[in-house]
Each structure stands twice: as structure tokens, then as C-alpha cells.
Symmetry: C2
Subunit: 157 residues, 2 copies
Amino acid sequence: MNDINFEKRISIEQVEESTELAPKFDTDGLIPVVTTDYSSGEVLMQGYMNEEAFKQTITLGQAVYYSRSRNTLWHKGKTSGLIQKIKEIRIDDDQDSVWLRVDVQGGASCHVGYRSCFYRSIPFGDNISSIVLKFEEKEKVFDPKEIYGDAPNPTKL
Amino acid sequence: MNDINFEKRISIEQVEESTELAPKFDTDGLIPVVTTDYSSGEVLMQGYMNEEAFKQTITLGQAVYYSRSRNTLWHKGKTSGLIQKIKEIRIDDDQDSVWLRVDVQGGASCHVGYRSCFYRSIPFGDNISSIVLKFEEKEKVFDPKEIYGDAPNPTKL
């Protein structure tokens, strides 16, 4: 595995208009990542990478995130088998956000068991009086208990 | 415009499996937002909303973000005319991330002038020795100078 170096950020021109990769990590050392399904375009999840996770994602060709709840590198799918194989990596204009386009082995990305983490929609418009979420996915792809057993639920209140 | 109330987060079951909207804002009061083009599925941008921006987005049916660089509500397109009309709003499993599906008036979302903010890709794989970004969009949709004039560039080093 080669060692990858990120460039120093020296000018707006360099960051926005050049071919140099000079990502910006926030004060916690993280960069947000949105992950979409390569075939359907569906947004599967939103996560974070630190510098090491970003470098591993690039060299490994599989999504490696940083888990804020567990404070550790998180090679997605290593426990569940639902590996995210990278098809394309994109960086945004000011290089503080990453877009991963992936193929998911097993077809699901959500620890609750759905294909996408975004399985519910929010009604909108100026006639909304009370908000009732709508389930856009009707059936879970897998049973979380079978896959994760007694591992603690990552959702924090 | 109706006043919208978010629910209190009381249990993992409620957050993950119910129809109640109980979003989690981070310690800065923000929730990350990924915005995709409703027709093409392309990721246009990644931003943030605070509670007020989220409520305005829901009632207005247009994307309202919170600008971290300018510390203010940001009704996208109010300056440039490139309004993002909401087609669908989704929330993720633990309700700490939002997905907006939008139609963009004018066809561009990026202050640099491209259709998407993610106009460059990053090469990947274990044979990568040096990283050279590739421009996936060849031509700008608009000239930023014509649209924004002398307004300060939002990109921060």
C-alpha cells in the first residue's frame, strides 16, 4: 500500500480550480462524507472520515469511515459483511466534503436493516400542521439481530 | 407559515422506527445536509442546517441552509437566483443527517460555476503513487463573476 500525501492548502485558486488534493478537516479532524449507491444513485448514508480513514479509503478501494460514537476507524462492512466497494470518489469545490459512489455487497447499508439509512421522508409545504414521517422502504433487507447480535446500537440520544 | 415542532428524543425505538421527527443537532446546533438533483441523482452539495433553517426548509419548500462561514441563515439562490426547489426531504436512521432532493432553477448549484460542487474525482487503488484530481465537468454552467460580482469567495483556507 502506497503512502498518500495530501497537499497543503495555499490558495483559493489551488483548492477550487487545480488538480491538487488538499482536503480540509474540521476542528475535530474530520471531513463529512456522503455515500451513494453507484447503480441507483440513492443516498445510502452520511458519515465522516479522518485523515487516516480517507487515505485508507483511497488505497483500499473500500469505504473506511471514522466512527464518532466509537472514536475509532470504521472499515464499513467488516462486521456485517456489507462492504462498500468504491466505484468513484469525488471532492467538492472547497475540498471540505467527500462523495463516495459505491457498490454495496449484500445490498444494504443501514444498521437498522434497510437498504439506505434514509428510509423515511418528511412532509413539507406551508400547509403542514403536524409532521408524520413516511416510510419509503417497506421491508428490511436483513434482520439486524442476526447480523450484529448483541453489539451496542450506534444510535445516540 | 405554520410553526413546526420537533419531538424530543426519548428512545432509540422512537428515533429509528417511529414516524416522529426528532432530529439531533450537533454541539454547534447543526445537522449535516446532502442535496441531490431530483432528476439525475447527482450529489450537488453538502451543507448544514440549524433548527431554524430546517423548519424554514420544511415550510418554504425551498432549501435553506446555515452558512458556517458567514454565521447566518442562507436561503440558497436568493443572491444567484439558483433556488433549490424541494421535491423530497429524507431523514436518516438516527435522525442526525438530512437528504434533500431538489430541482435547481438555472441548473447549477456550485459557486465556482459548475452544476455540482463535486466536479472533480480522486483516483484510487493500491497502485496510486501520486494523486491528480480529474475534472468530471468540463464546462462551467455560469460565470461566477457575472452572478456574484465582487462578493467575497466563501471558500476558506
